[in-house]
């Protein structure tokens, strides 16, 4: 069936099977492969995108459920001139990644977290990212990056 949604500011329409998951829609139908599939069971958060500004695990949402909604993926975070989003910069500056597989989901979950809680404590950052697993860093620099972004960002 036909679905139409706004992805990273641009309107897109595609004909998809109802069983198409949102993560496969953005990766396979739109070619936006920055959003990763990790566990595929809504545990790891690698597939996190924003739906109407809120973090959502796109492996557990159908593309048809996103019809008419605003979707943002990691590709939509940087500005048009290529300047990175403050959260992306904070991850870079604080070395908040090693292999990078969880990073797109981490950035999306972290920006959603700061939107709801602009000045979180360290513990609130850790709790807020509990749905995003990183097997490399031990989380320390990820938490540092999110706290730095919260300090430095006028608005997310």
């Amino acid at each position: 069936m036909e679905v139409t949604m706004t992805v990273n500011g641009a309107k897109v329409s595609k004909d998809v099977e109802p069983r198409t998951l949102l993560v496969h829609f953005v990766r396979d139908n739109l070619g936006l492969t920055g959003t990763n599939v990790g566990c595929d069971t809504s545990s790891c958060g690698a597939c996190t995108v924003h739906v109407n500004g809120e973090s959502v695990k796109s492996c557990t949402m159908l593309a048809v459920q996103a019809d008419g909604q605003e979707i943002t993926t990691i590709e939509g975070m940087a500005q048009a001139n290529g300047e990175m989003h403050p959260m992306q910069k904070a991850f870079q500056e604080n070395h908040g990644l090693q292999c990078g597989y969880c990073t797109p989901g981490m950035v999306m979950a972290a920006t959603s977290l700061l939107k709801e809680n602009p000045h979180p404590t360290e513990q609130e950052v850790r709790n807020g990212l509990e749905g995003n697993l990183c097997r490399c860093t031990g989380y320390h620099n990820i938490v540092k990056a999110v706290l730095a972004a919260a300090d430095g960002m006028a608005e997310v």
Partner: protein
């Protein structure tokens, strides 16, 4: 993992959803989808049609109704955990909502979805059970109310019939002592065992993941009302209950956990 093929239709009202359900035996409702889609991806559920009620705006609300708080079935966990009304009048429910999954899951999951799914390992159905909530069920023949105690029937089985939609959850205000003990080994996991305790007149206790459905610890409740001490009552936590064994815990370990957690819950509920 893809679900098997199905038809999809978005309902714009409860009555439209009911008429579709009545016309197609294997049609199922979907709202946030965070209970149903995982089952469908594992091919444990294969509905012929999904009726999406997620956009029916007038089923998402939290209202103070004097002696109870009325919560629309489509109210998301994130809205419940941050609601001032819920925090003031049913603080345990706000707390339990904040323990479900993780923030991204709570942006999608709905109270009505979680309760209709009726998973014995789930936090919110057990909370609703200890809080003595009333569930409002709408069908083509009208509206009926079911006590939470009569709603959960078995493994992922509730009192809902095909053609019925859970539309509202009425939660009696409970500002006395309460406690929710969720025992798990990793963040965002399901409870290996959980205990909800609510002191609202008498003391009500429900158990998570101690049976195929959420259940009340009736032996504990009647011991307490007969004057037993917390220690004596907690020892009866798994009386008459056959808990499951799985990769996380044996049945014996669950019985042990249940006693420990009921004791902790009663101590905490007595002090707040």
């Amino acid at each position: 993992m893809f679900p098997s093929s199905f038809d999809y239709v978005r309902a714009s009202s409860v009555s439209e959803a009911i008429s579709i359900l009545n016309n197609e035996e294997d049609a199922k409702l979907i709202a946030g989808g965070h209970s149903l889609l995982p089952l469908m991806k594992l091919r444990l559920a294969n509905p012929s049609k999904l009726v999406d009620i997620g956009r029916i705006g007038d089923l998402s609300y939290i209202a103070d109704r004097g002696d109870h708080v009325a919560i629309g079935a489509l109210t998301r966990h994130a809205a419940i955990e941050s609601s001032d009304v819920v925090k003031a009048s049913v603080p345990m429910l706000a707390y339990v909502a904040s323990l479900v999954g993780d923030p991204s899951v709570r942006h999608r999951g709905t109270l009505g979805g979680s309760v209709s799914h009726g998973d014995g390992a789930s936090d919110l159905p057990a909370a609703i059970l200890a809080l003595d909530a009333t569930l409002v069920v709408t069908s083509a023949s009208g509206v009926r109310e079911v006590a939470a105690k009569d709603f959960f029937k078995g493994f992922l089985e509730t009192d809902l019939n095909q053609g019925e939609v859970l539309t509202e959850i009425k939660v009696p205000k409970a500002t006395g002592g309460w406690s929710y003990q969720k025992f798990n080994r990793r963040a965002q996991d399901w409870a290996i065992v959980g205990v909800a305790a609510v002191r609202n007149g008498s003391t009500k206790i429900s158990l998570v993941n101690m049976a195929s459905m959420p259940i009340r610890a009736e032996a504990v409740e009647s011991a307490l009302s007969g004057g037993a001490s917390i220690e004596e009552a907690a020892a009866l936590a798994s009386e008459g209950i056959e808990p499951p064994s799985d990769l996380n815990a044996s049945a014996d370990y669950r019985r042990h956990l249940a006693s420990v957690l009921v004791r902790r819950a009663l101590v905490e509920a007595s002090s707040n």
